[in-house]
């Protein structure tokens, strides 16, 4: 089937501001948006620029705005989108080129919440014990692939550069609620500041766009409750 892709293009070496350009592609209904982008790049215009790697929703490279919603291009099929598809870079971070955004601030926020196990009690033999229920407690937030779909769907992130954003909170949650971790206090202190969880207005955009179906808003609420009631 013939589909028109309307892609927001920006070449920093030539353009003052971004502009849409249209491409007609011939795709199968079950093709991914990534297949359609590849068709443009490989057959028509090699200058089209986007990140991609695994092509099946695992690596988190190709989050972009597709018909106004943050999606992974490799997890969105053409048959769900109609005959005219608008593709833009994620909003909220600087565009480097076409669909490639600057991820520096995103990873800086991630790193700011100490996203690693803090524990000094590794047993000399064997594993730390953890019950299936304790393991289940933080299962949802272990699924994060750092694609930035949630953070760049959040209106607070768009207007407030300081806010760590949903993805960083998800990754803090993953450790705060891990029974093996001893760093909950440190992380909660970080998230209790101006740039932390209280910026969240419970808009649910993050949850709606997560390609891994993480209940992002719920995770953020659990972190807020942990701060209010010290329930970890």
């Amino acid at each position: 089937m013939e589909v028109t892709l309307r892609i927001k293009r920006f070449n920093p070496e030539q353009d003052v501001k971004p502009a849409f350009k249209e491409y007609v592609v011939d795709v199968e209904p079950m093709d991914r948006v990534l297949d359609a982008l590849n068709q443009v790049k490989w057959q028509h215009d090699g200058t089209l620029t986007y990140r991609r790697s695994c092509a099946h929703g695992i690596c988190g490279s190709d989050a972009m705005r597709i018909n106004g919603r943050n999606r992974l291009a490799c997890k969105m099929l053409m048959n769900e989108l109609g005959r005219k598809v608008t593709i833009e870079p994620l909003i909220g971070f600087k565009v480097i080129k076409d669909l490639v955004i600057d991820m520096d601030q995103f990873f800086a926020s991630y790193k700011a919440v100490k996203p690693y196990l803090i524990a000094d009690d590794a047993p000399s033999a064997g594993e730390r014990l953890q019950s299936p229920a304790e393991r289940e407690r933080f299962d949802d937030t272990t699924k994060c692939i750092l694609c930035a779909a949630c953070t760049t769907a959040c209106p607070i992130t768009w207007t407030n550069e300081e806010f760590v954003g949903p993805a960083a909170i998800v990754n803090a949650h993953r450790f705060i609620f891990d029974s093996r971790d001893q760093g909950a206090g440190e992380r909660l202190r970080i998230l209790n500041t101006q740039s932390g969880v209280w910026r969240c207005r419970t808009i649910f955009n993050c949850t709606e766009v997560c390609p891994r179906d993480i209940e992002v808003t719920k995770a953020i609420e659990e972190v807020k409750r942990a701060l209010l009631f010290e329930q970890v």
Partner: protein
């Protein structure tokens, strides 16, 4: 141009690279180069598990794991290395847990374990629960955990840098690498005492593959061009269960949990070929079973695929243990695995071959085991060889943590005493020349067309079943593609984030890998593991119980044999 000086540089930030870098962190000044962001590395796509004889759910011993690895590899495995793999797997998995990896747990809180292809109790008696797992996203958890540790240890990450060249002194020491920074187009020279290549595999040389688009063999190819031989390249694993037409991996865990392969008649055909392990026979065999069923007209509707059936499993088992793979079937084929069988076909999955190394990760350059000071490799880019002619499921993850760690530790000792070798004059010369050449033509061959031609011929002539005629055709096709590649022209002549350029560079690397695969396959006139020759159907230990080394020389390709290390297990016929 930019210049950096480090003790050690790790190229590739998947499981092996990060595991090595973590050993070096804080003790030696270490750079980590990735053409992606590290957590996007293809280690993250691994699903089913990582084996270690923990014995948490039933009796197990590392000796059994070692035996399975050797037999699974059709006795081409170097047994000293397999012993290290199986022994150190136990400690390495525990180290991952200590780093925070969220494994699934048993009722008593220990790491849970499940069955996987080719892993057996008591030297082949029946399946054993050896694979430690985190749902069906074990690789995701490994890459996340190691990246988290990298952040904790404040590693120097060079994200989105594409490898262009490796640097060696005139007397043969490794002294760094050259990269192009995607964002700026600037060329960087990273001057170091030691370099680790951990750039992963090159499944993208095939049309149907489970590999990420980044799996283009960059580090392997760049070393090969610098005169380093490639070992056992003819052994390329096809995973039996890739999503039909797409090649996306459906983990062996689906069969480990009880899933069954069925042909067009609805028959569970694996038991006809492998009466003991059935659907859990090693991957090379199951891929050939599928090939045979399809060839004899028993594909689904007579076509080139079969079904993976998990519909008889309890829905809660599917949700808890196979959530991602069932989601792939739903998303990409519109099939609900809880009720309907999933169309699958073998998919190019894993390179057993690569840069030859010793058990410390040092790259070796001849059949005597001579090393290049300061030059290391680990993970899929390396060939230790622990996988021999066919890797067992889960052993890639074991390989990268065990040998990534060993390489990192050895590098640390090395850089403590070694002095920084001098750089060659104009270290960026080759890197700059490659880019200038690709930028020089206004019109010419298109990268995508050549890449597709290569992928088609590799799929048709150099996949599950091969023969001399087809391989000779493949050789001539790849030679032709190489000639055309010299005339590639790209559309994007800009500096910043030029992925048109990097795709062309990657194609150059893949042509090198394809050439070596074909050369090895043509030379090896026997069938062993993943290398099956229709014109030489038997294993031939008298002539071919040996590794192949392929060298690229000014006079063309040269093949040498390297002996296999046999310690415990004498080669036997491989039955399951």
């Amino acid at each position: 141009m930019a210049y950096h000086r480090f003790d050690a540089v790790v190229v590739g930030a998947g499981g092996a690279g990060l595991m090595a870098a973590i050993q070096l962190a804080g003790k030696a000044n270490t750079a980590v180069v990735s053409k992606l962001y590290p957590p996007r590395s293809h280690t993250g796509a691994a699903q089913g598990g990582i084996s270690a004889a923990l014995g948490n759910t039933e009796e197990d011993h590392w000796q059994w794991h070692m035996f399975d690895t050797v037999k699974g590899g059709d006795y081409l495995v170097d047994q000293d290395a397999a012993e290290i793999l199986a022994r150190e797997a136990v400690d390495a998995v525990l180290e991952l847990e200590h780093m925070g990896l969220p494994f699934n747990r048993t009722a008593d809180g220990r790491i849970d374990q499940r069955r996987f292809g080719g892993h057996t109790r008591n030297f082949g008696e029946g399946p054993v629960r050896r694979a430690c797992y985190a749902a069906d996203r074990t690789g995701h958890m490994i890459i996340q955990t190691l990246y988290q540790q990298g952040i904790k240890h404040k590693l120097n990450f060079f994200d989105e840098h594409h490898l262009l060249d490796l640097l060696f002194t005139d007397d043969g020491q490794c002294c760094g690498c050259v990269t192009v920074e995607m964002r700026t187009g600037e060329i960087h020279t990273i001057h170091a005492k030691a370099v680790l290549i951990a750039t992963g595999g090159f499944g993208r040389v095939y049309r149907i593959t489970s590999n990420a688009m980044a799996g283009t063999g960059d580090g392997v190819a760049v070393a090969y061009r610098r005169g380093v031989p490639l070992m056992d390249m003819e052994f390329y694993q096809f995973h039996p269960t890739g999503l039909y037409r797409l090649g996306i991996l459906l983990s062996e865990a689906a069969r480990g949990e009880g899933g069954i392969l069925r042909n067009g008649l609805g028959e569970a055909f694996a038991e006809r070929y492998a009466p003991t392990l059935k659907d859990l026979a090693p991957r090379d065999m199951v891929s050939r079973f599928i090939y045979q069923e399809v060839k004899e007209g028993r594909g689904i509707d007579g076509k080139d695929y079969v079904h993976l059936d998990v519909s008889h499993l309890a829905p809660e088992v599917i949700d808890a243990k196979l959530p991602d793979v069932t989601d792939f079937a739903r998303t990409y084929l519109g099939v609900e695995p809880k009720t309907d069988p999933v169309p699958i076909q073998p998919t190019a999955h894993y390179a057993m071959g690569g840069l030859p190394t010793d058990v410390e990760g040092r790259v070796i350059v001849d059949e005597q085991g001579r090393t290049i000071p300061g030059f290391y490799s680990a993970g899929e880019s390396a060939c230790v060889s622990v996988h021999g002619a066919n890797r067992l499921g889960t052993n890639s993850l074991v390989d990268l943590v065990v040998f990534g760690r060993r390489a990192g530790r050895h590098m640390l000792e090395y850089v403590k005493t070694a002095s920084l070798p001098p750089l060659p004059t104009d270290p960026e010369f080759l890197g700059r020349a490659q880019i200038a050449d690709l930028m020089s033509r206004a019109s010419g061959e298109r990268t995508a067309e050549l890449r597709q031609a290569m992928q088609e011929v590799m799929m048709d002539k150099v996949s599950v079943v091969r023969d001399g005629t087809g391989l000779r055709e493949a050789k001539s096709a790849i030679d032709g593609i190489r000639r055309s590649y010299a005339q590639v022209a790209i559309d994007d002549h800009g500096k910043q984030f030029n992925t048109d350029l990097t795709e062309a560079l990657e194609l150059g690397c893949m042509i090198d890998c394809a050439e070596a695969i074909v050369a090895g396959a043509l030379a090896r006139e026997e069938s062993r593991g993943a290398h099956y020759r229709d014109d030489f159907q038997a294993r031939d230990d008298a002539n071919w119980l040996a590794h192949t080394l392929i060298y690229r020389t000014s006079g063309g390709l040269e093949m040498r044999k390297k002996p296999v290390t046999i310690t415990e297990f004498e080669p036997k016929e491989r039955k399951y």
